[in-house]
């Protein structure tokens, strides 16, 4: 029982990072139907930014996190402006390949500029472990979980309660109709990228703290996992992305804990396929049948 709760705790903290990343995928997908392959690399940029400002400018955790979110947001907006906006009326698969190109560019550009070495992330917060009823939980895990949850709630508030959030929802349903009622589509899409990428930037700093190591290719695997989480939850659905992220995180830690870590990813993909076969549009996705 104790190990069970231990795994839940570990799974939740890993899952919250996947969830933060998945939110970015799901928002971008919801609004322009693009699998933003470069999203995982924005997370890498966030981690590198955190590494830099903490080491060089001696930022504390909060300012490192917030500035990484700003950097993430800015890079998301820039990428959208230069790489995706010219392709908005092109076949979706073209935009997908461009996104893959951007991902390659960021990964290899960072490797070229700053070398592809793995480096230690500065531990600005001293790790303290608490034993609660036989379950080991560190302050960093709590911090990650709390930060992730706060950000997710904030995001939900922005989407549901603000004018910009309403515009985002409108554009995701029907961009042409949204434009007709006076919504600035370009602004809305930029804003969506900014929001999603800010979360990725935050996830980058959190993962740096959690795993203590970063490198230019670190975005690849979590990026794909987070995308799987978004699909699992129902891509385009914000609560779906959070739930999907937690499911994948918990699933991974459990598979690992029963000694099957070599099959960790296989189990994740298997569960994904099974869920898609039962719910073809993910857990929270709307399965829209074509009207004849």
């Amino acid at each position: 029982m104790e190990t069970f709760f231990q795994q839940i705790i570990n799974g939740l903290s890993l899952g919250s990072i996947y969830a933060l990343l998945a939110l970015g995928y799901t928002m971008v997908y919801g609004i322009i139907k693009l699998i933003n392959f470069a999203h995982g690399d924005i997370y890498m940029l966030g981690a590198f930014w955190g590494y830099y400002v903490i080491n060089v400018w001696h930022f504390n955790f909060i300012s490192a996190l917030l500035s990484a979110m700003l950097v993430g947001a800015a890079s998301g907006v820039i990428i959208e402006y230069f790489a995706y906006r010219p392709l908005r009326r092109s076949p979706r698969i073209t935009a997908l390949i461009t996104a893959i190109g951007v991902s390659f560019l960021l990964e290899n550009g960072m490797s070229y500029l700053f070398s592809s070495n793995t480096r230690d992330f500065p531990q600005i917060i001293k790790q303290v472990n608490y034993h609660i009823g036989g379950v080991l939980i560190s302050n960093i895990q709590i911090l990650i979980l709390v930060t992730a949850c706060v950000l997710m709630v904030l995001l939900q508030l922005i989407i549901k309660k603000t004018k910009m959030g309403r515009a985002m929802r409108a554009v995701s349903v029907d961009p042409d109709a949204a434009e007709l009622v006076g919504i600035n589509i370009n602004w809305t899409i930029s804003f969506t990228f900014a929001l999603g990428s800010a979360l990725a930037g935050a996830a980058g700093v959190l993962i740096g703290l959690y795993y203590n190591s970063i490198d230019p290719l670190m975005g690849m695997t979590p990026g794909i996992k987070a995308f799987v989480a978004a699909v699992l939850g129902g891509i385009g659905s914000v609560p779906g992305a959070s739930v999907g992220g937690f499911i994948i995180g918990i699933l991974e830690t459990f598979v690992q804990s029963i000694g099957l870590s070599a099959y960790k990813d296989a189990v994740v993909y298997f569960v994904l396929i099974v869920i898609l076969l039962i719910l073809p549009a993910g857990i929270f996705g709307k399965n829209t049948k074509e009207k004849v």
Binding site: I35, S90, T94, G109, F227, V231, Y269, L276
Partner: protein, 319 residues
């Protein structure tokens, strides 16, 4: 009927001429082993990408799991030729790879092909990863380290002939009753079904055919390079095949050839740039996509028949 024989003859002559051209260039020394290596890689990529183009471009099913089927072929050849180290063993291993990949494609395809668009892409990607992870954890496949010293039976003529054979199969499939059925599924599933097309069957047919040619490519890859590891067949490999398809033009086999050659040459030229190689490659990819969104050739197809009938029309106009 006479006309068909004529067109087919022209294609045959072109293929034989291409073979002798390469042969001569190698004998003369214009093509050194470095360039030969590049050409073989291009050939294998052509086999992979034409199969994927059949699935994506003609059947309209977004599959991201091509590398998994390639892995099956590669490991079939590696395992079989280690014990049966003869050309006969090599061809038997290709056949075994095809059979296993067809079975795998059926297992993957029957449930997942009902999914749409990006959901299908992710499901096939997952299936392909499962195949890779299984290989990664098996004894017979050498685990994560992979397999070494695979006997080399695939030289450039084998690859050249295989490129011709698989392309003929896929192109003939596309330009036939089967191809039309598959394209109708891409255009409108509901209308196709109402016209008597068994949508599930034709989706599966395209998927299985694509998967089996991927297995052939995998066999050639293993036998030519003589070393394989599970990580050669990851998501990135599936993506790089997808890049060839999209760059050439989704729905154009000619485009796939052009893109495979362009990317192969680009890759070789960029070897000189060291660490900058991938940066330039990525930038080139983005720029091509922005300025040529429907791929290098769109859906244009080289057709001897069209060239003939066009020149005939010209004659008529002139006379």
């Amino acid at each position: 009927m006479k006309a068909n024989v004529k067109y087919n003859l022209v294609w045959l002559i072109m293929m034989v001429a291409g073979f002798y051209l390469m042969n001569t260039l190698i004998l003369v020394g214009v093509i050194d082993s470095f360039i030969e290596n590049m050409l073989v890689t291009i050939g294998i990529n052509i086999i992979l990408a034409t199969g994927l183009n059949l699935i994506i471009g003609f059947a309209g099913q977004f599959s991201l799991g091509h590398a998994g089927f390639m892995a099956i072929g590669a490991y079939a050849t590696a395992i079989v030729t280690q014990t049966a180290s003869t050309p006969g063993g090599f061809y038997a291993s290709i056949f075994i790879g095809i059979v296993i990949s067809i079975i795998a494609a059926l297992i993957v395809g029957v449930p997942t092909l009902r999914l749409r668009g990006d959901y299908l892409a992710i499901a096939t990607m997952g299936a392909s990863e499962i195949i890779r992870i299984l290989i990664n954890n098996m004894k017979i496949t050498g685990g994560a380290a992979g397999m070494f010293n695979i006997p080399q039976f695939a030289d450039w003529p084998t690859v050249y002939i295989m490129v011709c054979v698989t392309t003929i199969i896929i192109v003939n499939f596309i330009h036939s009753r089967a191809g039309r059925a598959v394209k109708s599924v891409r255009e409108d599933e509901i209308a196709a079904e109402a016209m008597g097309i068994n949508v599930t069957k034709w989706k599966l047919a395209a998927f299985v055919l694509g998967a089996s040619t991927a297995a052939v490519a995998g066999s050639l890859h293993a036998s030519y390079l003589q070393t394989i590891a599970p990580n050669d067949f990851g998501i990135m490999e599936s993506i790089s095949i997808l890049i060839i398809v999209v760059l050439g033009g989704v729905g154009s086999i000619t485009g796939t050839f052009v893109a495979a050659v362009v990317l192969g040459v680009l890759d070789t030229v960029l070897q000189n740039f060291g660490a900058l190689r991938m940066v330039i490659y990525a930038a080139a990819l983005i720029l091509i996509m922005i300025f040529k969104p429907s791929g290098l050739l769109g859906t244009w197809e080289l057709s001897i028949k069209k060239i003939f009938s066009r020149s005939k029309r010209k004659e008529r106009v002139e006379s």
